[in-house]
């Protein structure tokens, strides 16, 4: 285990507050931002820290970008860093979402607004479809995981999303343990 490097919590919080405001475009750009701003520019972390954080947090539930920030926060300032870094990171995006949510209530219901909302609805379907395909290609590789993907969809359609995630997860856990036992015996 690595001893946490001392970075003042105030400084850490300010830097992550700023990075949160710049983290447009999903995980890929968040990681690039962390590498250049915390790594190359300030020398707080190495590329390897980011790779390790990503590898580990990807297996945990939750927003991976935020978790990478928490993981790096722990490395820099222990538990206070692990809590302060990610919550500073989401302050600006959360404020923007609150503003959007308030605007949704406040804006007058005129044809232009209705058209704009319809435009968002139309665009979201396209964006989500593209993201789903991209994620399927990067995360659900191979025949087994593709089957699990479709299985999850079917269980979700017939039952619930929660049951689908948990039941498929348990199937995966059992499969992995059986495979390991097979390797140990043989």
């Amino acid at each position: 285990m690595q001893t946490p490097i001392a970075v003042s919590l105030g400084r850490l919080s300010l830097v992550l507050l700023r990075l949160g405001a710049l983290a447009f475009g999903g995980m890929g750009s968040t990681l690039a931002l962390l590498r250049s701003e915390l790594g190359a520019r300030r020398g707080w972390i190495t590329d390897q820290d980011v790779a390790e954080a990503l590898a580990i947090t990807q297996t945990l539930p939750g927003s991976t970008g935020v978790q990478v920030v928490a993981y790096l926060g722990w490395k820099l300032a222990g538990w206070p860093g692990a809590l302060i870094a990610p919550f500073s990171f989401v302050v600006v995006p959360a404020a923007m979402m609150i503003a959007a949510s308030a605007a949704l209530v406040a804006i007058p219901d005129v044809p232009a607004t209705r058209g704009a909302l319809l435009g968002i609805q139309i665009a979201v379907v396209g964006i989500l479809a593209a993201n789903m395909l991209k994620m399927a290609r990067s995360t659900a590789k191979g025949r087994i995981l593709s089957t699990v993907l479709i299985g999850g969809l079917i269980i979700g359609a017939l039952g619930s999303a929660v049951v689908a995630v948990l039941s498929m997860g348990m199937l995966g856990a059992m499969g992995a343990m059986r495979k390991q036992r097979g390797l140990n015996d043989g």
Binding site: L60, P61, Y71, A100, S101, V125, L128, V165, A173, K179
Partner: protein, 178 residues
């Protein structure tokens, strides 16, 4: 008060179940915070998802959008803390024990299968977002198709949502939406 407690509980659960990252947790959000509670109309949910993609930060930043509709500013704060709390605690703990969980074979198997299932479930979210459009006019999906191709080719969601708002507002003002 009861509403804030329910917000906290539901978003804690969403965070704990978000295998495969925030982007693949949308079906869980839709199930737990929209379909079961009617906190948002399907159209409001679609708008929230659109803004979540267009703003910086994680997709689950959708939480304060929903929380604000339910309980104002307090609701937004509660849902933000709740949705990220468990993932952040897990990440901190994992950094502390440097991957003891990760090296557990069963957990790796659980994570990869749960993530694949979660991505499959996005098909349901896609369907529920597309359904109102199809009912309104199936031709609208052509627009979605154009956005799909642009997003697939790497055009940023920020530009796509901004463009959609602009085109939508102009055509709404000129031709109406009915």
């Amino acid at each position: 008060m009861a509403e804030l407690a329910e917000l906290a509980l539901r978003f804690l659960m969403i965070g704990a179940l978000a295998f495969g990252g925030g982007g693949s947790a949308l079906p869980i959000v839709e199930r737990l915070a929209v379909a079961e509670t009617h906190w948002l109309t399907p159209q409001q949910f679609a708008a929230g998802v659109g803004f979540a993609y267009a703003t910086p930060g994680p997709v689950l930043i959708l939480a304060p959008f929903i929380g604000y509709q339910v309980g104002g500013l307090a609701g937004a704060l509660v849902s933000t803390f709740a949705v990220f709390l468990i993932p952040v605690l897990l990440a901190g703990a994992a950094a502390g024990i440097v991957g003891r969980l990760r090296s557990a074979t069963w957990f790796k198997g659980f994570g990869s299968f749960a993530a694949a299932a979660a991505i499959g479930l996005l098909g349901l979210t896609l369907y529920s977002l597309a359904k109102p459009l199809i009912l309104l006019h199936p031709g609208l999906l052509l627009g979605s198709g154009v956005v799909f191709l642009a997003a697939w080719r790497g055009i940023s969601p920020v530009s796509l949502i901004a463009g959609a708002i602009l085109v939508g507002a102009v055509s709404g003002a000129v031709w109406g939406t009915d």
